[in-house]
């Protein structure tokens, strides 16, 4: 799965968890850019991403996730690791 495909699936996850139909996903996007993105929604987002992509994050990985771009790269790396 390439970054574009990941972004498309990620958009669906963000739409569902953050309840924003018109959300636009960018690599630079952070929790500060979306009003509803608080601690509760963050944990729901992580859990939903894990379910949708069939992966599991470590705490250290989540701590170093500074923006959506980092999340996309991490999903990509984990998916690659799964295929390999």
């Amino acid at each position: 799965m390439n970054n574009e495909e990941i972004t498309v699936r990620l958009k669906t996850v963000f739409q569902k968890v953050l309840e924003e139909k018109d959300i636009t996903i960018t690599r630079e996007m952070t929790a500060q850019d979306v009003e509803k993105w608080d601690s509760l929604r963050h944990i729901q987002l992580i859990s939903e991403v894990e379910n949708v992509f069939g992966i599991k994050f470590k705490l250290r990985e989540i701590l170093h996730m500074n923006n959506v771009g980092n999340l996309i790269d991490l999903i990509n790396a984990k998916q690659g690791a799964k295929v390999a």
Partner: protein, 523 residues
Amino acid sequence: MGDQNRISTMGTSILSRFIECSRQFPDNPAIVVDERSYSYGEFNGLCLAMCTLLKAHNIQKGDRVGIFIEDNVYTYASLLGILSCGACYVPLNDNNPVDRNMGVIADAGIKVLLYTDKGKKARELCVSPGTDCRPLNNRVTPSPGILDPVDQMPDDLCYLLFTSGTTGKPKGVPIYHRNLSAFLDMMLESGRYDFNRNDRFLQMFELTFDLSVFSFLVPLSVGASFCPIPRKGIAYLEVADILENREITVALMVPSVINYLKPYFGEINLPKMKYSLFCGEALYHETLSSWSKCVPYAKIENLYGPTEATVFCLRYEWQRGEPPHPQGKGIVPIGRPMEGMDAFKINDHSVDEEGELCLNGEQVTLGYWNNPSKTSEVFGTTKTGKKYYRTGDLCKIDQAGNILYLGRIDNQVKIDGHRVELEEIEFHTRSFCGDKQVIAAVNASEAGTLYILLFIESEKELKNGLEEHLKKHLPAYMIPKEIITVSLFPLNSNGKTDRKAVMKNYLQSLQGAPQRERAKSHT
């Protein structure tokens, strides 16, 4: 206990304690923030500069000084600077609605409003109709010398915090130096805690939340340092990062933090932690038991106390391996009154051994700010002349004398430790929806944390514009996560709206839908 590292200052004010630490340990770190550390000497110099600036603006004993809180060193130096002038600090959150901040400014009678980088909002507020205070930038450079505070008397105001009010208007809780000194004596002079200048405290609370008083004033009283979490990201992740990277030794947290971190406990190991303390919400035995493995050498306590009784005043020391309390319904007891405090229950709200928890002692404030009717409702005197505060918390006392928290006698709930009167949300909803019946309630997420639901009795959807209206009047943690329209609210046998049935119907309607709620509610 490391006596060489401790200073005995029984009965003295926070400022005397801080100044003594600055004299004895000028090179010790006082605050670690913005990726750098400020020594006691440097931090004291900033406090002195702030005090001088405030005095130049005619701030005197008894004045109230507002401050827009930020996670930088100037905010903390300002708080100490305000106290040194003999004034009282009133923290304001820039993210709260303008109307709410203006209400607080007017009610508190704020003379000067301090700000740093987000000055624009402060200036706007100061020129708004109904406010009469001056904006003042608190970005100062350290002054040489040591803070020389105005004499603090026990009855002088120390800080004024505003909490959710049932009438739609936040109520002010004034805390006096008498109350704060009693709290510090209990923490530092009872011999229970070995806090010293080598300790590093976590500071995860907004300064509008009184648990912050423990997290920054206790370290500054013993020569220790404190680390505020940055307000940029996701709070529980910032906490996890600081706990590990700063090798925190004393951490007071709301239980929500460990609820969020639960999936990652296996990756957390904090052997340096000496005290892992919890306060602000119900603490679940099962979660605590798992957390205890992350802090293998720490003493673990569940603390309890309303803002009106200065930070906290009941303590339960949790022992590793202890079973869940047989009557606790999975919740860790809140324990017994701390030194200098008394707790008892009155039974006019319930039957059997349950009763409303009342507190008495030097930590309890005299009453609400400018609110005699609310004061007379909950502050009273027993037949034997003992003054007390009625907490609104329902409790019972077990055979060992430990107090168990059972719930509320009213509609107050805690969201991430913040006190929320559900009526305040209903008040502002009604002001938008007109004569509609509304119910604010809470539900628990899968992580075990609570969030707010809002039910509106209406045939038509009324959501348009409502959320924006609520955001204009309420802080973010009080905004409902879901707004649900119900065509007709069920009534109970007395003909009143059956709040519990509304919630029950909602939970039943979710069955079959994706599992995201747990059948646990408070209406």
